[in-house]
């Protein structure tokens, strides 16, 4: 059960990168115009992951709580920028969405990590980067997707539902009451990928972390239990983050006098 993992050297890595060429060839053949993005994306992934490898080594060796928290904040910030980059409404919508997105991802992810780290896994010391960084990475990745989906859907539902929202406001409804339906739909939209993932985990998909643990020589039963902790934790993080987005972002569509603001020119 403890056969060592196969070593991947630079040669193996170069061979693996040929797989990206398949996608690039497909893009050229179908004229998808994705070639440049794929090349840039692959190079970015290579650089980012290589660098993060060294950062992790350094972080594990120094083992300081403030460095760990600093990295967690940086991860949250990066996730925020990614989640808001392709939102409708573009540059006008982003200044008001970014702080909300950052706060939602931070709160949703930290609460989840705190619970897992303190109660479930019992990480010692509490800032042990070997646990916190990978766990937080998975959490923030999912929270980011939840935030992006919730924000995008809320924006489009608020736009499509303007007539109904104003009809509610005209009857003396609060902005919360008037936007209850867009908020509900945005939350559902953000949760659907997580719910789908819960349904097929282990049947259709073998999650990356579990695969990694098994490849690295862990017992599959242990890997499965870890993975269950992870999927439950991702569910909580997505739900909390989506709730935060929907709660805070929808306020920005209204004035203090319960008026629906004019639509953002796209």
């Amino acid at each position: 059960m403890t056969e060592p993992a196969v070593e991947i050297g630079w040669v193996q890595l170069a061979l693996a990168s040929a797989l990206v060429l398949v996608a690039i060839a497909l893009s050229a053949w179908q004229r998808l115009g994705l070639g440049k993005s794929l090349v840039i994306g692959a190079i970015r992934a290579l650089i980012q992951l290589t660098l993060i490898g060294y950062v992790l080594v350094w972080l594990f060796n120094t083992n300081r709580w403030y460095f760990v928290l600093g990295v967690l904040l940086l991860m949250t910030l990066t996730a925020t920028l990614a989640a808001t980059a392709r939102q409708p409404g573009g540059a006008q919508a982003q200044p008001r969405l970014r702080p909300i997105c950052f706060a939602s991802i931070l709160v949703g992810s930290s609460l989840t990590l705190a619970y897992v780290g303190a109660v479930v896994v019992d990480v010692t010391p509490w800032y042990n980067p070997r646990y916190l960084i990978p766990l937080f990475g998975m959490i923030v990745g999912n929270a980011m997707n939840g935030a992006a989906l919730a924000a995008e859907r809320l924006q489009s539902e608020m736009e499509a539902g303007r007539a109904q929202i104003e009809a509610y406001l005209a009857l003396g409804a609060t902005p919360q009451q008037a936007s209850a339906e867009p908020a509900r739909r945005a939350t559902v939209a953000a949760m659907i990928p997580t719910i789908n993932a819960l349904a097929v985990v282990g049947v259709v998909s073998l999650p990356g972390m579990m695969t990694g643990q098994i490849l690295a020589g862990s017992a599959p039963t242990l890997a499965v239990r870890y993975q269950l902790v992870v999927v439950f934790m991702l569910t909580a993080a997505t739900a909390l983050t989506a709730a935060g987005i929907v709660l805070w972002y929808r306020r920005t569509f209204f004035t203090a006098a319960a008026q629906l603001l004019p639509r953002v020119p796209v």
Binding site: A163, Q164, E166, A167, Y168, L169, A170, L171, G172, A173, T174, Q177, E181, T255, A257, A258, Q259, L260, P262, P265
Partner: protein
């Protein structure tokens, strides 16, 4: 509901009205902008209490922009809007909107049945779904001349005219003193529109509501309103009792607009 004012009290020019009987609404040098464009440019006007005021004028005159100020769906860029003599911003906005109902050009139905569209209204004001709500629903359905059996119909499946009556009924659920109507018949065919106008006249007679209506149908404004305001390019061209404004307009522009409307009446 016997506080209805006799028609003669309405046939008074705004200048003659005293503080003792304040106008329903008064606008003082109001400007408004939408999307960086000026849509109201210094509007000063008074709308009589208990009246049926019609806002007329060509498209883009600022009629809807003006109407939206009267229950604070929008606030003006500058100037003062008064409700019953007090600045409108002094009223808590949600309470104000329950006193000043709004019916939109395109009725937006809420999910569910007609009865659900109506019974949700009290809950928006923080009240529990009242036990007497069903009585109230029957009453407002009667006022908008929809049969009591309409309560069980799915709102989204109704015809345009029926939806507009549901929207009207919904606005009446708060027990308003004023109804603002934004081209309520614009999306309806002439016969259905005429029937709705008939209902509105009856409604005003039986409840004493003040009504302010934006319309592009001049015949509607002429036959239904007691007071009329002619707007063009964000300015008031002329305002006065409908009987006078439609038969003997003072401003040449009003005369032109009414004449053009009469000429095009057959196509309406």
């Amino acid at each position: 509901m016997n506080d209805m004012q006799p028609l003669t009290s309405i046939v008074v020019s705004p200048e003659q009205q005293t503080d003792a009987s304040p106008d329903e609404f008064a606008l003082e040098n109001v400007t408004q902008e939408r999307g960086g464009r000026r849509v109201l440019a210094g509007v000063t006007i008074a709308l009589p209490k208990g009246g049926f005021s019609a806002l007329i004028g060509p498209s883009g005159a600022g009629k809807t922009s003006l109407l939206r100020l009267l229950n604070r769906l929008d606030d003006p860029a500058s100037g003062v809007v008064r409700f019953l003599g007090r600045p409108i911003v002094d009223f808590p906005v949600r309470a104000l909107r329950r006193r000043v109902g709004f019916v939109f050009q395109t009725p937006a139905m809420f999910p569910g049945t007609v009865a659900e569209n109506l019974s949700v209204v009290p809950t928006l004001g923080g009240e529990a779904r009242a036990a007497h709500a069903s009585v109230h629903i029957a009453e407002v359905l009667r006022l908008v001349e929809l049969g009591a059996d309409f309560g069980d119909r799915i709102a989204a499946d109704l015809s345009g005219g029926e939806k507009q009556r549901v929207a009207l009924a919904r606005a009446l659920m708060t027990g308003p003193e004023v109804l603002l109507l934004d081209e309520p018949t614009a999306a309806l065919d002439p016969e259905v529109a005429a029937h709705l106008m008939h209902t509105l006249r009856r409604l005003r007679e039986s409840t004493g509501l003040t009504i302010v209506m934006v319309t592009h149908r001049l015949s509607e404004a002429r036959s239904t309103s007691t007071y009329a305001v002619m707007l063009e390019a964000g300015r008031v061209v002329e305002a006065g009792p409908s009987a006078r404004l439609f038969s003997a307009p003072i401003e040449a522009r009003t005369r032109e607009f009414i004449a053009a409307g009469e000429a095009g009446k057959n196509h309406d």
